[in-house]
Symmetry: C2
Subunit: 223 residues, 2 copies
């Protein structure tokens, strides 16, 4: 029973995601879906990213949380338009669904954006199942979570287009095997680009920014 | 639609959980459901806990993961009987459901256990919704995840009976406000016991062990 129901929910979601994708393509905006466990440092990475790429790249952000507007408040300081979704209003959903993103996108002047970043709910499982009509997906893994997470949560790493290994400033105080972590990632997703960085200290930020800005530029030139 | 379907799934789960609860009570085994984000250190905490409380307390463990038997392999070294559930076999479920726990419990001689610990899937959202027939619930939060998680994921902290703040050995290298974290926890769950500890260094482990062994002893004396 559960599996049939889940299939129906995902089919409905895929239809909404298709509509979003057409709409984003028509406006020429590149949409990045950022996913991770709670507390991996997505918001800090976004804060640092927005400062470096704006205003050359015109950015907007949709932030998903079950409760609070903490992250939207932090990101709004960048000057980018930010919309917070609180899934608590509709049952405490553990992911952002495509129809929710469709409604949130109404708050933006999409024609005047180059990049719309969706900071998904902190959850390494469910968000991977829900296409939101994005162009690319990035998974952020904090090195404090341990190197085996790509093996334990393979769907997320399989479905993403790049991976960030964040909080590398803490590596001296952890038993984290970086080569093993990259090996686990490439076992489930060969050749996926991996960016080792510390959003806090900004060490290693440039390769990540180059990847992101290249994606946006290619999307723009494809219009 | 989604909400109705979710209600039906949860009602079915609650019925299975009730059956589990009767069965565990009849056998006199105390069941603890441990939940957290991925990588909070649940398995390390359990390894250290089992060494300290066995064989005086006869323990069994059910470990939930989407993929891999890494955690079961680690925990089996304690000598406790361990059963690994891989939800990948039935759709990659993001939580352990009561009927799954019921089946996994068949592998144990429940009459000869004092404590059955369930290490749930690493997910700070969905597992909180699924009663598995446990006696108590503990949420583990790594201090690397940031102090605001109880406010952002209130359902989990509201439904648990105790909270562990793990990885305190990393506090010197983090901007983590312990008083704020405890404040956020007590905002959503006043008076919930909180245990600050480092499973890695074992600092602060005793108050946690006292709480757990007291729960088990009270369950035994209530028979």
């Amino acid at each position: 029973m559960e599996v049939d129901v889940a299939r129906k929910i995902l089919d409905t979601n895929d239809a909404h995601a298709g509509q979003n994708r057409e709409r984003f393509a028509a406006a020429g905006v590149f949409v990045l879906n950022m996913m991770s466990s709670p507390g991996s440092g997505k918001t800090t990475l976004l804060e640092k990213t927005l400062v470096r790429i704006m205003p050359k790249i015109r950015c907007g952000v949709i932030v998903g949380d079950i409760c609070t507007t903490n992250d939207a408040d932090r990101l709004a300081r960048s000057g980018a338009p930010v919309t917070q979704i609180n899934t608590d209003a509709f049952g405490g959903d553990c992911h952002l669904a495509a129809h929710v993103i469709g409604k949130a996108a109404d708050a933006f002047d999409l024609e005047n954006l180059d990049l719309l970043i969706v900071e998904n709910i902190g959850n390494l499982v469910c968000p991977a199942e829900f296409d939101i009509g994005e162009n690319a997906r990035t998974v952020v893994l904090s090195v404090t979570e341990g190197e085996d997470k790509p093996a334990k949560y393979p769907h997320m790493f399989r479905k993403c287009d790049s991976a960030v290994l964040n909080k590398t400033d803490l590596l001296p105080y952890l038993d984290f095997d970086m080569a093993a972590a990259e090996g686990f990632i490439h076992q489930v997703h060969p050749d996926m680009p991996i960016f080792q960085l510390s959003a806090k200290t900004e060490e290693g930020l440039s390769p990540w920014l180059n990847w992101l800005t290249t994606q946006v530029a290619e999307n723009r030139s494809a219009r």
